[in-house]
Symmetry: C2
Subunit: 177 residues, 2 copies
């Protein structure tokens, strides 16, 4: 269970609402941690009851009130403990590969079509990440240093997506023949 810690990490950087977190899960953090809004709101409630985060209401006109959450001292301690203790390697569950493994049960066209669908998604993810990287590279040196660790996670995304796309090229050729 690291959704808890993913949220704490984000709130440690900057306070925000459930909606703000949702956006971050869709963007920067999104390619290495996924969560739906229902999960986030539930977890925020829980973290608040554990006193690891707290919130203040921000009144808005026209829109519903915003609950802006921030990490507490207790939350920072919890985060530090978690970061100092080892985590397990991420487990992979990739249905597309299960499909390809059993691909003899369908047509080559069907496999190629699905591969192409996934390729489009991975390619657009890569383009998005490369744009963020461009922004980072224009930062002055001190700001680059400040964000060097989040930048590493971005690099992981870029290298991972490039490897995926290189594999897809191989796969295309194999299936075509």
């Amino acid at each position: 269970m690291s959704l808890k810690h993913a949220i704490l990490v984000l709130l440690e950087t900057e306070p925000g609402s459930g909606y703000d977190l949702m956006q971050q899960f869709k963007q920067s953090l999104g390619y290495f941690w996924n969560a739906k809004h229902q999960q986030i709101y539930l977890q925020l409630k829980k973290l608040n009851s554990e006193k690891l985060i707290s919130f203040s209401l921000e009144k808005q006109t026209g829109k519903p009130d915003k609950k802006v959450y921030g990490i507490t001292d207790l939350g920072v301690k919890e985060l530090q403990q978690w970061i100092a203790s080892p985590v397990k390697p991420a487990k992979v569950n990739d249905a597309l590969l299960v499909k390809i493994y059993g691909g003899h049960l369908t047509s080559a066209k069907n496999l190629l079509d699905e591969l192409e669908q996934h390729r489009l998604i991975h390619d657009s993810t890569l383009q998005k990440l490369l744009k963020i990287e461009q922004l980072y590279r224009q930062f002055p040196d001190d700001k680059q240093k400040k964000y060097q660790l989040p930048y590493l996670t971005l690099r992981r995304g870029i290298l991972g997506e490039k490897a995926w796309l290189a594999w897809a090229e191989e796969a295309k050729k194999t299936i075509k023949i």
Copy 2:
């Protein structure tokens, strides 16, 4: 829910017991689909009650009896339908990256130590996959063609692990400085 289909795919290739499947999840299939033994036994029971698989008891001396499962015609139909319909891209949940993102809360040494632990695991996975690839390359052409789709999943593992290791080198340099 594709554990169901991962099991069906394996049994479509070759009948086997829960234990056999467990071994396969630890080996060939293991780097793109993970499952614990409890999950597998539960799912086998469910698939059997849905008539997608069936089993025969193999008596053994000294060891407990083996339930050898095989896919049924209904199971093959179900598999074919699943394989013909699109799947969602795999979602990534990687706690190590969450840690690195918030790495300023711990020491560089701690980060490097954990990175090294993970590097060892990824490296040994890669070595294992490369050995399997060597075996495949020694197959005669017709056998290579027969196993070309499972081989593609192996390639995905190899390219993925290489990309991970390349990233780890970058990360090491960044954190060291």
